[in-house]
Symmetry: C2
Subunit: 348 residues, 2 copies
């Protein structure tokens, strides 16, 4: 019989439809279209003038802004979904309806000069730079009174909404705490009132104890498939220490986080032949000293199923792969010879 | 500047990103792959034995169940996401987590014997049969104490999750009121407490008055693009009389509903060259005499954008087409010569 599972934080239910279950390996992409560097990719070296001027870059010494010599580059989004950020949001009524100006920031973090290599394939040193850029750009905006929340996201692959091939992440600064974060904050508070403990710390202890949903673990982070996974191969990267604010990581923790992120995406890349996915970081709202009960984390959602009429109409996801079998599959992927463009051209 | 709009019922915000706006016609599909009746389609005439035995059919007189002669046929889903429905759901704990048995029903309503014609192209008489089947199957399950909610949905096109080409709808009976309906019920109650009126009746009056988001209107239904549309060309079909329970329609109202549904899907079909879409009916929970304040409706979400990292992480949709321009575009589509398989083979 199909099983419903409740998310311990949000209270939302997910249907694990075992009658429809597929073997994890059946999700592997059968063919990957070869990606060639576009002659007109605005994120490649030498095309710096094709983007708005950079707001930050990690560069080789004595190179000029908006010229080659960068290792990671951050630019405003050419078609921002939010902005500008130099004013307070203004609400107004249109008949009975309410609107608000979409103030905020929308930045693009270009992962590296490499057009073809994403986090799974880049060097660990480069992934550490990406994580450092997440923290730096977060800190650049966190004092802005117009911005209530800073959301860092990554779209990998066309089916996951990446409109430009060249690997990049995005930072959105928006004038409200988004509902999905609000829901988690409320779940954290509710659990704290009931049990006197952090719900994420309890999840951490449970997952470490049973091990059946663990994908990987290092000194500072646990990588696991959530009990109520919404999509096949959903995964979370959770700090093993209680921490509400993502940007407060030490250097050491940041390096562990980069390693966990690179290894998880490498397991997806190798195990499922470079599937499309989205990830985002959920951290406490930036003006909230009071949200120390929150426990930040990163959520990865591979795009291997379509949210159709049932999911859109109900808000309940149907997942055809159990988190236990997904975790077992990803745990057993051999990433000892992590792919690089040079070593495994067949995968490109 | 991008504009945020709040949904009057749910309170959820949507970002209308005018900076990214595209012209409505740019969403038209450039090429439609020719669909041929599959030699093995289990929903075609003569393949009745390939599905589980029918639970209902509208048939020509003196034809036997599970043989040809049907005009519309309802069968249990071969791979049900919920079921069976002859027992109460049982909750149990797995460590700190909660699970529930996924009892319920999952039925497939095969729209007609035609493999290639969906609601936009079928005769009005056939679409009236489809609507009658929605009501009949709804009523068949509404007294079941194990089922808290009955959701009728339709997935049109592969990109919208239709795993079989032959047009069909689905009915899900599930052991809980889904969160998306719960959110609307709460919005309706909140508005009623504040204003003493039905929020949907107020939306109806507003949309009829301004007209700028109206797509079509007939004697009993208004078809409009919601003020806070989540996707390009989102549309709602709203009864013009206050009605909480969809199944209580009179014959006359049911025929108007069939006409509104056929015309809306024909506008999408002709205007955007048969785009993929999902629709679902939101009605009051079936055991709730107390939800008479609710106002049932049908929501259509064309699948013309990808919910990516920002949408998944925040719960806020970014929509690149204003509802006003979408409504104007769909309002002006010429459906006077509604397409049929015979009349416009080029569209197939």
């Amino acid at each position: 019989m199909p099983q419903l599972r409740q998310d311990l934080v949000t209270g939302r239910w997910v249907a694990i439809a075992t009658e429809r279950a597929k073997r994890p390996s059946s999700f592997s992409r059968s063919a990957v279209v070869s990606v060639q560097p576009s002659a007109q990719c605005p994120f490649c070296l030498g095309r710096e003038s094709m983007t708005p001027p950079e707001v930050m870059a990690y560069r080789q010494p004595e190179t000029q802004p908006n010229t080659p010599g960068w290792e990671l580059r951050v630019v405003p989004n050419l078609f921002p979904a939010f902005g500008p950020a130099n004013q307070e949001p203004v609400q107004s009524h249109v008949g009975p309806y309410l609107t608000m100006t979409g103030v905020g920031v929308h930045e693009v973090l270009i992962s590296s000069p490499e057009h073809q290599q994403d986090i799974a394939e880049l060097s660990l040193v480069q992934v550490e730079k990406i994580v450092r850029a997440y923290v730096d750009r977060y800190n650049a905006h966190r004092e802005n009174p117009a911005i209530q929340y800073l959301l860092i996201i990554n779209n990998h692959g066309k089916e996951a909404g990446a409109s430009l091939e060249h690997p990049h992440s995005q930072l959105f600064g928006i004038p409200m705490v988004p509902p999905n974060v609000q829901e988690e904050l409320e779940g954290v508070r509710r659990y704290h009132v009931e049990k006197g403990r952090c719900v994420y710390c309890d999840i951490l202890a449970t997952e470490q104890k049973t091990g059946e949903r663990v994908i990987a673990e290092n000194d500072h982070f646990l990588v696991y498939a959530p009990f109520a996974s919404r999509t096949p191969f959903e995964a979370s990267i959770l700090p093993k220490w209680h921490a509400s604010h993502f940007e407060a990581m030490t250097d050491d923790q940041r390096k562990s986080f980069a390693r966990a992120l690179k290894e998880l995406t490498a397991r997806l890349y190798r195990g499922l032949n470079d599937p499309p996915f989205n990830f985002y970081i959920h951290t406490a709202p930036n003006h909230s000293g009071a949200d120390l009960d929150y426990h930040w984390h990163l959520e990865v959602l591979p795009k291997l199923a379509i949210a159709a009429g049932f999911e859109l109409g109900s808000g309940i996801m149907i997942n055809v792969v159990t988190p236990e079998s997904a975790a077992e599959f990803l745990r057993n992927v051999d990433i000892s010879a992590a792919p690089t463009a040079a070593a495994s051209p067949a995968l490109h």
